[in-house]
Amino acid sequence: MRGRVFLVAVVLGLALGAGYFAFSGSSGNGGNLTSSPSGPLSITSVTPVRGAANAPVTIFEFGDFQCIYCHQWFLNTEPQIVQNLVNTGKVKLVWKDFDYYGPDSTSASEAAYSAGEQGKFWQFYDYLYSHQGTPNGDWASRANLVSFAQSLGLNMTQFNLSFNSGKYDSLIKNNFADGQKLGANGTPAFVVLGPNGKTVQLVGAQPYSAFEMAVNSVAGG
């Protein structure tokens, strides 16, 4: 009998523990990122930007090309953001890699940045998410990334030179550090930055309606 009571206690403890873990502090999809409009949210010449440079609102995406939820966001939310907010000049979308799934994630980012040198970062970004496979399942191996570049019609001499140079190592490390400074503890994580420095943070593959509200919130304030 005592064993059974213990069993029930374990199950209830598990449920309560998971509940505490999910809803406490900064963990979870509703967690808060620490607002910091300078530094981590800076845009340099190599930062990929989609949309008009003078768009009043900026959405920073911290993502990993192998992340399942980033893929969900890419499929379900990003097209509406691009269509309704980016293409209308209200918002520009900025990519910051936050690679943690493993070496293939880093390679994917390096390849995307290398494609960016030929003005095809976003095409590569779209291609990667459209062809995402099982995390660390070799779909983003260096050999496959090279073949993706070929499929996109990139100048392969230039691409390979950049891809194998290691020139983006420090950028990738800095982006990860930037994400951590902002309190990001997972991907996808977003910071919506308004013209007056007001920010709203969203964590997880949230739907378009959440971004629309966040954009309206920072644009007005």
Partner: protein, 174 residues
Amino acid sequence: MSLQVLDALRRPVYASGALGISAVFGILFLYLNQFLFLAPYFIFFVPSEGLGLFALDVLLSALSGVVIALSVFQIRYLPRLSMGQARAGLGGIVIAFIAGACPCYYLVPLLAVAGGAGGALVTVGIIFAAYEIPLKLLSVALLGTVMYTLERSLRAACAVTPSAAVEGASSPPR
């Protein structure tokens, strides 16, 4: 012929217990699988490709609640609960949790940053992420098996036999 497990759930205490536990599990599963967002806005969102996983989460939550409530009922009225059955029920719930929690987008990077043992756990988490649906189906099968064994044991306990009368076995009040 009515099912004994349904009879047990007609009692308000166990019905509300099952409902409450299912609700807790459901909220957790939906939150962990990013169907439910709490901040900065409270949003419930099920993308079309997530319908299967959503249905599995709802089924698992309901089964978990019912199995826990019925296990308590059985412990309360039938002191001969097999530990094997109890372990199977617990196993189903634990697997459901692992399958739901391991792909947790925030758990993996935290472990990645930790390095060392954390790195190994990341790999485990990624494997669980890749097999989330089969693991949840396994959990459903385990919980279904437990439901079946609970039904059988309740039915057996309710059948009054001379030997049971001699042994003085207690029957759940109807």
